[in-house]
Each structure stands twice: as C-alpha cells, then as structure tokens.
C-alpha cells in the first residue's frame, strides 16, 4: 500500500503539469482542464496495478486523460472559452517584449483553431516530445497519417503566424 502511494505521488509530481498542459490544449478551458487532470489521476490511482511497463507511464496517463475528455463530451459539450480571455495568459507572458507577447497569443489562438485531429498529435509532439511512432501507437493511427497531420498542423499555425503578426504589430 505504501509502495502504491509512493508510486502514485511520483507520477503526480512528474506528470501533473504536463497532463494539465495536454488537457488545456485539448479542451481550451483552464477550469475544465484541471477537472480532467483530477479525474484522470483519480482513475489512475484506482487502476495503478494495471501499469506494468514503467517506461510507458506518460502514454498510459495520456490515454486515461483522453478517455476522460471523450467521456466529458458524451456528458456535455460546453462552449469553449477563448483562452486569451484569461488573466493567467497575461501573467504568464509578463516580462516579455510586446512583440513576443503578440506572437505567443497568435500561436495559442492558431493552436486552438486547429481541428482536434491535427491539434492532438501536434501537442503530443511539441509538449510531450513523443516520436511519430509513439503518437501513432497512442492515437491508433499509422505513422504516415501522424506525419501528415503534424505537417499540416504546423503549416496552418505558421500561416496564421505570418498573416496575423504583421497586422497585430501595426496595431501595437
């Protein structure tokens, strides 16, 4: 029991922030993201005995979180709040040059504007450092499909960055 508790504490310490970021960019709402992470870790605690491979802890937690997110959509489909409306976004970027602040907001907005099938593999690569093969395994897709989705996702985000930066800078 003590070993189980220690293992769980280690999982929370190592992955709660990453899981929160994953949840946030999946659902686009900070409060819902925190609920998702809480629910995912509660489920992880109950099913900790199923985690056999210590090298797959992160992928295991992400799968639980994805399932929680899917369940949430079965229950209710909330209107997403624009992530840039939140005060945390301003405070997170405090201290940056105005141009950098603008760039980050454009990137975040472009990320949330992506369709989920493009957004999710990109989050997994950028935030979690997963290889295309690992993403393919988690999302149950072919590796080629993952590569295509990441390519298109980055192209879309880049286009948004190029288009919007100039007009935003002009407004500064």
């Amino acid at each position: 029991m003590i070993a189980r508790q220690k293992r769980f504490e280690l999982l929370v310490q190592c992955y709660s922030t990453e899981m929160f970021r994953y949840a946030l960019w999946l659902c686009g709402n900070r409060e819902i993201a925190e609920d998702l992470v809480q629910e995912a870790f509660t489920r992880a605690w109950k099913n900790l005995h199923q985690l056999k491979d210590g090298n797959k802890e992160k992928a295991w937690l992400m799968t639980i979180l994805r399932n929680e997110n899917a369940r949430r959509f079965q229950r209710v489909q909330p209107d997403l709040v624009d992530i840039e409306d939140h005060a945390w976004s301003m405070s997170a970027d405090a201290g940056l040059e105005p141009e950098e602040q603008v760039e980050r907001r454009i990137l975040r907005k472009a990320m949330l504007d992506l369709e989920e099938e493009y957004r999710e593999p990109l989050i997994m690569q950028v935030i979690h450092g997963f290889s295309c093969r690992e993403i393919a395994e988690t999302l149950e897709l072919s590796e080629n499909a993952v590569m295509t989705r990441i390519f298109r996702a980055k192209q879309k985000v880049k286009e948004a960055l190029t288009e919007q930066t100039a007009s935003a800078m002009a407004r500064l």
């Binding site: 029991m1 070993a3 189980r4 508790q5 769980f8 504490e9 929370v12 310490q13 709660s16 922030t17 929160f20 970021r21 946030l24 960019w25 900070r30 925190e34 992470v37 809480q38 870790f41 509660t42 605690w45 005995h49 945390w88 976004s89 997170a92 760039e103 980050r104 990137l107 975040r108 990320m111 990109l122 989050i123 690569q125 950028v126 935030i127 290889s131 295309c132 590569m147 990441i150 390519f151 980055k154 192209q155 985000v157 880049k158």
Partner: protein
C-alpha cells in the same frame, strides 16, 4: 534526398534521427532550413508551456489519499448498516444448522461464479496482502497466473481465502477455510465442476476445477505454494 522532401521532413521533425536526413544537413542551405524549423518548434513549445494552477499536485494527492467528508459519512453509514446486517445474520445463524463443508464450498463457488472468468492479472503485492493476513506466504509462480484473490466470507459468515488461477483445463479455484477442519480428503462436484477438500494447516483447503482437471497435480502445486512458517495466524 531532394529539397522538397527535406523541407517536408524538417517541418514534421527538425530533429529527425534518420541517417539520410542527418547526412543532408551537411548542406549549408539545408542546415539553415533546419534551424528555422527548430526555432519555430521552440517558439510553439514556449507558447504552449503555460503554468499549471497553483496547488494542483496537492489537490490531486489530497483527493486520492483521504476520503471526502461525504465519503466519510457514507463509510459511517455503511458501518452502521453492516452492524445491523451482522446482528440479523448472527441471529439467523443461531437458528440454522451448520452447512456441510462441501456444500459451503460449492455454494460459495456458485455465488462468486463471475470471478472464475476474470482475465485480470493480480499483482503480487495484493496476493501477499491477502495471504499474509491469514499468516501465510504464497509462492505464486508455483501455481500460475493468479486471476483473483480475496478474503471472502463464506456461508457461515467467517472468512477464508478465495483464489482463482489458470489451471491446465481452465480456471482452478482454491478455498482455504481456516475455521473448519476435516479428517481426510473427500471429493466434491456439481455440474461441470469437480474438486477435493482436504486437511490443510489449521483448517481445510478445497481445490475445484473443470471436469478433466488434474486435481492431484494441482493439489501438489498448491500445497507447495503455501508457506505457513509465519509465526502468528491473524484470522
């Protein structure tokens, strides 16, 4: 690798470990493209790496360590219900003749039939937790994959070990009943099940499998797997 192919792969993953991709980086122009793509990924990572809410870890740990206020009240209510049920069952028990051991085994087998078809693999820690409560150790590798183990209450409302593992012809169920003794081995059976009950340690043990299961060999395995050298029996 042509330029188009290089650019595409560079956008997908500027740190692509593929040898052809790494070799192409000897070209200065390609290296510049790679640096731009890596820079873009870095910017994206910085933009997405938002801080987690303060105290998130503590809230997760607290939620999974201590039952909530409501849960604690539910627990108290459950304990009260359990006390009432125990009193009622205790009175009922006084008025009822004791079941034969063989009938008790068959009754419990049918009562918990679903666990026989469990495909869970029970972790060693849980197996140890249950058997050690009865003062034993179990070398589970001697019997096979354990699919279920719990300290079950039998029809006489006293506890014993209920264990299911993969036998040669299907699931094999083992009951250790510490509070009931038997003089010698006896056969039991019902429908597609056959089994044996025999004296074991301070009580009795039952092994039940599907018809065709080699019970003699399972008995040897199970007896070898249980080690009763622990000093105190806490059941």
């Amino acid at each position: 690798m042509n330029e188009l192919e290089f650019r595409k792969r560079c956008i997908i993953n500027p740190d692509d470990p593929d040898p052809d991709f790494r070799a192409a980086l000897a070209n200065d122009d390609y290296r510049r493209v790679q640096a731009e793509c890596a820079d873009f990924d870095e910017k994206l990572l910085e933009a997405l790496s938002v801080p987690a809410p303060e105290g998130l870890q503590d809230r997760i740990l607290a939620a999974n360590r201590r039952p909530s206020f409501l849960a604690r009240w539910k627990k108290k209510l459950a304990a009260l219900t359990s006390l009432i049920v125990t009193l009622v069952l205790g009175l009922t028990l006084l008025l009822r003749p004791q079941l034969a051991l063989s009938d008790m085994v068959i009754e419990h087998l049918y009562h918990d039939m679903a666990v026989m078809y469990s495909r869970d693999v029970i972790p060693e820690e849980h197996v140890d937790e249950i058997v050690q409560h009865f003062g034993a150790d179990l070398e589970s590798s001697l019997v096979g994959i354990i699919r279920f183990i719990e300290d079950c209450r039998f029809a006489d409302h006293r506890k014993g070990i209920h264990l299911v593992y993969d036998g040669q012809s299907g699931p094999v169920t083992v009951f250790y009943i510490p509070h009931r003794q038997i003089d010698r081995m006896q056969a039991i059976g019902k429908d597609e099940f056959q089994g044996i009950i025999f004296p074991h340690h301070e009580g009795s043990m039952a092994i039940v499998g599907l018809i065709g299961e080699d019970l003699k060999s399972q008995k040897s395995k199970v007896e070898a797997a249980f080690d009763w050298t622990r000093a105190s029996v806490q059941s």
